[in-house]
Structure formats: structure tokens, C-alpha cells
């Protein structure tokens, strides 16, 4: 184990232990926001302090000069909003109020980056119990984060990744312990790795996740570009409906050094926020008729397009926004409106509409119903296949996701395909057994990726289907229709079976006789 691994493990363990303060008092779904926010605050404070000390060593007592230099920091930290200031006052009442004030001060001082991030989180909340208990819990929390193991100064821990990883570690652990709700903010890491690698992100790509949760899938794509090319030239876009999860995603991005992101808060179907900026900037002019354009016309007309669109949308969301879908201003449902109670195709169609015309490619996690359900969904599916957009269908093992045991599939769509066929892969049998959860191993991922690359049928694993074959199956994409994994039974030799039967009968007769003998010995006739 390298030293960075050790540092990572201790930090992970220490932040996880900090959650003990909350356990049995508050629900994990509530305290995760507190712990993650505190980690962010601590990080910002430590960076600030580190640089402050550095400047102080350099410039001595020139307080004004130091102050001036610190204004160029990534995050500006008002004096009273420092973690250590809060920690110093931890024994006097009013911890919750002080932390809230500090967060708002930080938000105001960095409004460009942190606008609204802390609005949904209140440490001064009755969720933590009455005044005294709340103060007590928060004092413990401040003390936990003041431990030397959680000294997050850059001069101590070096690269930023350790903090980002600790943040993700927390999110992952919250996901695996908080049951049903977990799927809302976290995709299992192997699945996001698989999707990122399927997309083969390149330098210069614009990448979007319209249901980004805590943002880890997006960052996987970015990291892949950095690893493969060393370049930081890419742009991450995301949208998340739940306010507190959106805040998590923002903090997650900053802690991973992905400052150049655009994550919007809002419902992707009802209110897509990632729009084409050109359309917005171009002023609406109606030949000088009226300077005040009608309100409707001011609305930008087109969605922003991306090179890569990835998502793990909620499975079969019931209230996805069916009512407004018919008159969607962006024409996303021109292939048909998905059923009222199943939002799967709403997300797929949104993603399809946001792919760039040439380089656009997308990967989406869906429940299996998407492959075979009929009615409106069947018609949409047929059109997507006829337009030659669907590229690969991958069936994943069951029990891979948090909060649900159902097996899911990954669909890959491409704007420009090399052929008119669809590759089906049945990867449902390749996984590592876990206690409550299954995992994909590196070998399982590689097998999928190799097969996608080769784009050839593999016996009992993959099948390259032609449009005619899919039409023959009525555009039902149920994977077993294409990939036959049924084990052929070996031919039975009836003569051998009969012979064995006779032998067994003889054997039984012999045993019966023996047993009679033993019973007699025991005095039973």
C-alpha cells in the first residue's frame, strides 16, 4: 500500500467516524448533507489557512498585502466564516446559527461559483433535535473535523484527489446504507466506469448528464480524458432535480478540481436548463415593430447539444411530466409521448435530442421493460431503430444498483453509426457475488468493451442483429431473443439410463437385505 493509499484510508475512516455523532439521532438521508457540507467547509478553510501561512512566511507583517493576495484564491473565505473560527466557539450556544451564517458568507463571497449551493442546508434545523441537543451534536461534529487526520491542507496531503475521493467514499457509503433512496444520487462505480469507457471521451468533448445526481458519472468521463490524454480540455454539464443532491454535485465538482462545470438545478423533462447559449444571446428583433418581444419568443428555442450524453435516470419514474409533454417547446417527443406512468423513454428522448449531429453519442441505464414494452413505447422504439440510432444493448447482472435488485441494461445510441445493425450483449452472467450487492469485475468490464469494439457475434454472449431480424421480432429487443444462452442438454442415452436403473435396483435390494440383518442383530425380527 502506498502512502497516498494510507492517507486516503485514514481520511475515509475518519470522516465516516464523524457520522457516528449523528447515528441513532438523525436519519442518514438527513445527516449525509451535513457531513458532506462540513467536509467542503473544512477543505476550503484548510486551503485558505495553508495559503495564508505561506504568504505570511513570505511577506511577514504586511497584512494588507496578504489580504490582497488572498483575494485571488479559488475560494474567498471571509474571516468569520473560517472553520477554525467556528471550532473556537464550539462550546458556546448557537453553533447551528453560526455555521449557517458562515456558509452564507462564503456563498456571498464566491457568488459566481457557489450561488444557491447552501440554500437547502440548514445546520440550525430542528431536525437535529432541541436547542441543546443540536448544539451538542454540532460541537461534536466540529471536533471530529478538527482532528489532525482531517487536516486537508494542500501542503500536507498533496493532490486534490484524496479529498474528492473521500467525498465520493462518503456518498457511496451513504448510498449503500440508506436503502431505497440511494439510487437517487449514486450509480455504482463499475457501471459509471463502464459507461464512461463505452463513450470513449476525447479531448474537447462536451459531456452532459441530464440526471446527474452527485455528478460522479460525469466526472468519470472527465477523468478518463485526463488519464488518456493528460488534457483538461473538456466541459462537463449536468442537471439535477433534487436541490440537496444538486448541491452535493456542485461541491463534488469543486472538491475534484472540476471548477469549470455547469450543473443546473431543475427537472430535466419539465424544465431543461441546459440550453443553447447562442439562441439565448441572439436578440429577438421583429423589424423594429416592438422592442418588447412577446414573452414566449424570448424563450430560447433549442436545447444545447453535446458530444457525449450519459445518464442513469430514475427507473420507470411515475410522475415524469406527461401533462406538458404533448406541447413540448423543444419537440423532444415528436416520436411519440411516453406513457403517463413510465418516464423511461422521456429521458431517453431528451438525451437523443441533445446529441450533437455528428459526434453525438450516448449511454443510458434503463430497466429491461424499455426493451420490450408495447404501445407508445413500442412505437418510439421502432422509430429509434429505423432511424438507425440504437447501437448497442447490454444486459447487466441483477443486484448491481443501490436500492433495487432488478437487472438493468445499458443502451448505447450514436448519431453516426458505422453500420445499420444493433449489437446485443448478455453480460448478466459475469459478476462477483456480494452480500447484498453484486459487482462487475475489471475482467467483466473488459469483456463487454472488447465485444463492443469487435462488434461480432459471440456464442452465448453477443449477437449482431440486422434491422430485418429486429423487424421480424416486432422491434422487441428482449435480449434472450437475440442472444441464446440456453445450455444445450447433452443427448441422453436411453439404453445407458435403463441399465443404470437396473443396477440401482439391485443395489437397493442388497442394502435392504443388509439392513434386515443389522436390525436382527439389534433384536428386531
Amino acid at each position: 500500500m502506498s502512502t497516498t493509499d494510507i492517507a486516503q484510508d485514514t481520511i475515509n475512516a475518519t470522516v465516516w467516524a464523524a457520522c457516528d455523532t449523528f447515528r441513532s439521532v438523525v436519519d442518514p438521508g438527513v445527516y449525509k448533507d451535513y457531513v458532506l457540507t462540513m467536509l467542503f467547509l473544512k477543505y476550503v478553510s484548510d486551503v485558505w489557512q495553508d495559503h495564508y501561512d505561506e504568504y505570511k512566511a513570505q511577506y511577514g507583517d504586511h497584512a494588507e498585502l496578504i489580504e490582497e493576495m488572498l483575494k485571488n484564491e479559488r475560494f474567498v473565505l471571509p474571516a468569520k466564516a473560517n472553520f477554525y473560527a467556528l471550532h473556537d466557539k464550539r462550546h458556546s450556544p448557537g453553533n447551528g446559527e453560526r455555521i449557517d451564517k458562515a456558509l452564507h458568507a462564503i456563498e456571498d463571497a464566491n457568488i459566481g461559483k457557489l450561488r444557491d449551493v447552501f440554500q437547502d442546508i440548514s445546520f440550525n434545523s430542528n431536525k437535529l433535535g432541541d436547542e441543546q441537543q443540536k448544539n451538542d451534536i454540532l460541537r461534536h461534529l466540529l471536533e471530529d473535523f478538527a482532528k489532525p487526520e482531517l487536516n486537508l491542507r494542500p501542503s500536507r496531503i498533496g493532490q486534490l484527489d484524496i479529498i474528492g475521493n473521500a467525498y465520493e467514499f462518503l456518498i457511496k457509503n451513504f448510498a449503500s446504507t440508506s436503502g431505497k433512496k440511494a439510487g437517487e444520487f449514486y450509480t455504482p462505480p463499475e457501471v459509471s466506469t463502464l459507461m464512461a469507457r463505452l463513450m470513449e471521451p476525447k479531448e474537447g468533448d462536451e459531456i452532459c448528464d441530464p440526471t446527474c445526481g452527485s455528478g460522479s458519472l460525469l466526472m468519470k468521463c472527465g477523468r478518463l480524458i485526463r488519464e488518456r490524454t493528460g488534457s483538461r480540455k473538456y466541459a462537463l454539464y449536468g442537471q439535477e432535480a433534487i436541490g440537496s443532491t444538486w448541491a452535493l454535485a456542485k461541491m463534488n465538482m469543486f472538491l475534484h478540481g472540476e471548477d469549470n462545470h455547469r450543473i443546473e438545478w431543475g427537472d430535466t423533462i419539465r424544465n431543461p436548463k441546459l440550453l443553447d447559449s447562442d439562441a439565448r444571446e441572439s436578440p429577438f428583433v421583429v423589424n423594429g415593430k416592438s422592442k418588447q418581444a412577446p414573452k414566449q419568443a424570448l424563450k430560447p428555442v433549442s436545447l444545447k447539444h453535446f458530444d457525449i450524453v450519459v445518464a442513469n435516470p430514475p427507473f420507470s419514474l411515475e410522475k415524469w411530466g406527461h401533462d406538458g409533454a404533448d406541447g413540448d417547446p423543444y419537440g423532444r417527443f415528436r416520436r411519440g409521448v411516453p406513457p403517463r406512468t413510465k418516464g423511461d423513454y422521456a429521458f431517453i428522448l431528451h438525451m437523443i435530442e441533445t446529441m450533437k449531429p455528428r459526434s453525438g453519442r450516448m449511454a443510458v441505464v434503463v430497466p429491461h421493460g424499455v426493451l420490450f414494452r408495447g404501445a407508445a413505447e413500442g412505437r418510439i422504439r421502432k422509430l429509434l431503430i429505423e432511424e438507425n440510432l440504437l447501437d448497442v444493448v447490454i444486459g447487466l447482472p441483477e443486484k448491481l444498483f443501490y436500492g433495487t435488485g432488478i437487472p438493468a441494461a445499458v443502451l448505447v445510441f450514436r448519431k453516426k453509426k458505422a453500420d445499420d445493425k444493433v449489437l446485443f450483449i448478455d453480460a448478466s452472467g459475469d459478476y462477483q457475488d456480494g452480500k447484498n450487492q453484486n459487482y462487475l469485475r475489471e475482467g467483466d468490464l473488459q469483456r463487454i468493451l472488447d465485444t463492443v469494439k469487435a462488434r461480432k457475434s459471440v456464442d452465448k454472449y453477443a449477437y449482431l442483429a440486422s434491422p430485418a431480424e429486429m423487424a421480424e421480432n416486432d422491434y422487441n429487443l428482449n435480449i434472450p431473443r437475440y442472444v441464446d444462452t440456453f445450455e444445450e442438454e447433452e443427448g441422453v442415452d436411453l439404453m445407458a439410463v435403463r441399465k443404470q436403473r437396473e443396477q440401482l435396483k439391485t443395489e437397493l435390494a442388497r442394502l435392504e437385505q443388509q439392513m434386515t440383518g443389522y436390525l436382527r442383530e439389534l433384536g428386531y425380527d
Binding site: 442438454e489 443427448g491 441422453v492 442415452d493 436411453l494 439410463v497 435403463r498 443404470q500 436403473r501 440401482l504 435396483k505 443395489e507 437397493l508 442394502l511 435392504e512 443388509q514 439392513m515 443389522y518 436390525l519 442383530e521 439389534l522 433384536g523 428386531y524
Partner: protein, 202 residues
């Protein structure tokens, strides 16, 4: 039923287990057993046992055991007794590999008076209703049930003549063989039906 009644109604001597056998706990590993692929000591754990006996000698984990005094190795005809959980039973070891110990969750029962009591017969008796009823009563615990050694030593054991003990062991062995043969017969019939299906429908 009449068989059981005849056996039970005999005048065979009743004696406590502690009087005819040594009972000791398995090797006192602290916490998880450190697995060492190159270790030269094999360990039998709870998961390696079923009521039918030891699962598979090759799947036992190996480890290193240190200490001045070597552990008490398991021997042929030792009994292992599962004292944890809701199911308590004894298993007879038939020539275990050399240098094998068992985890501390198991008791090792070693018969000291071999001329009076056959280990195989003891194993069988511990798994029968009278002993099981006693064991069930002496199991304690709020999270996981377990039986203390002193309680196990107090199980009452009947000691019929050696020939009868031997006959019971043989009877049990043949009964097991019969069960296997009957299972094979069921599988055989399924194979026969599969063959018919293949011919008619294939």
C-alpha cells in the same frame, strides 16, 4: 416405532458424556483466522460441516499456527460438535488430513474409553432425539445460541453392548447408502423422461 422402543427399553447403562470422553474447544484463534495459502495447518470451520459430515478436505483453509506447544491435532475417530446456532450436531471424523485443527466454535469430543463406546455410535446418539432434546434445553444466548462445555459434558449417554453399537453404525451407513441410491433412481427417471422428450419433441 417398535424398533426405537425396543432399543430404548433396554437396560444399557446411562453415563454422562464427560465420563467416557474428553471435550475441548477447538484451536483458540483470536478473531478471523488469518489465511495463509502456504500455511501447513488446515482448519475445519463451521461452514465445512454438514450433518452428513465433512464437506471436502481440499477446500479447508490453511494457516500458520505458532506457539511453543504445538496444538492438539485432530485425529481419526474424533468427533466435532457444532455448539453454535440453532442446529447442534456431531460429526465423526474419518481419517482427517495430518496437522488439522478446528475453529474455536466447534468442540472436539475424543472418546477415552474405546472398549466401551464406539465414536461412530456416540456421534449417532448425539444426533438422536433424547440427546438433541437435552442439548436444545441447554443452549443459551440472546444473539446466537451456544452450548457451554460443561453442559455438553453432562449429556446422558447410553452404552449398549459393543456389537449393538456396531450394528447401529452399519445400519446408519447402509441407510445413507440407500438414500443415495434412491436419489440416483429419481435422477435416473428424470434422465429417462428427458430422453423421451428429446426423441419426441427434439
Amino acid at each position: 416405532m417398535s424398533i426405537i422402543i425396543r432399543i430404548m427399553r433396554n437396560d444399557a447403562k446411562i453415563i454422562t458424556l464427560g465420563a467416557v470422553a474428553d471435550v475441548r474447544q477447538g484451536y483458540p484463534f483470536r478473531g478471523a483466522i488469518p489465511e495463509a495459502p502456504t500455511g501447513n495447518v488446515r482448519v475445519i470451520q463451521m461452514k465445512d460441516l454438514t450433518r452428513a459430515g465433512l464437506r471436502d478436505c481440499d477446500s479447508l483453509i490453511t494457516t500458520e499456527v505458532d506457539g511453543r506447544k504445538g496444538p492438539d491435532w485432530l485425529r481419526d475417530q474424533d468427533l466435532l460438535f457444532v455448539a453454535r446456532g440453532t442446529s447442534n450436531y456431531a460429526v465423526l471424523l474419518d481419517d482427517p488430513p495430518q496437522r488439522t485443527v478446528c475453529s474455536p466454535h466447534l468442540y472436539v469430543i475424543r472418546v477415552t474409553q474405546l472398549q466401551r463406546l464406539l465414536p461412530g455410535f456416540l456421534a449417532w446418539q448425539l444426533n438422536q432425539l433424547p440427546a438433541q432434546r437435552y442439548l436444545h434445553q441447554s443452549a443459551e444466548g440472546s444473539h446466537q445460541l451456544s452450548i457451554r462445555r460443561t453442559e455438553l459434558e453432562k449429556v446422558e449417554i447410553r452404552i449398549p453392548p459393543i456389537e449393538q453399537q456396531r450394528a447401529v453404525i452399519e445400519l446408519e451407513r447402509t441407510a445413507n447408502a440407500e438414500r443415495e441410491a434412491l436419489k440416483a433412481l429419481i435422477n435416473n427417471r428424470e434422465a429417462e423422461l428427458a430422453a423421451v422428450a428429446e426423441r419426441l419433441l427434439g
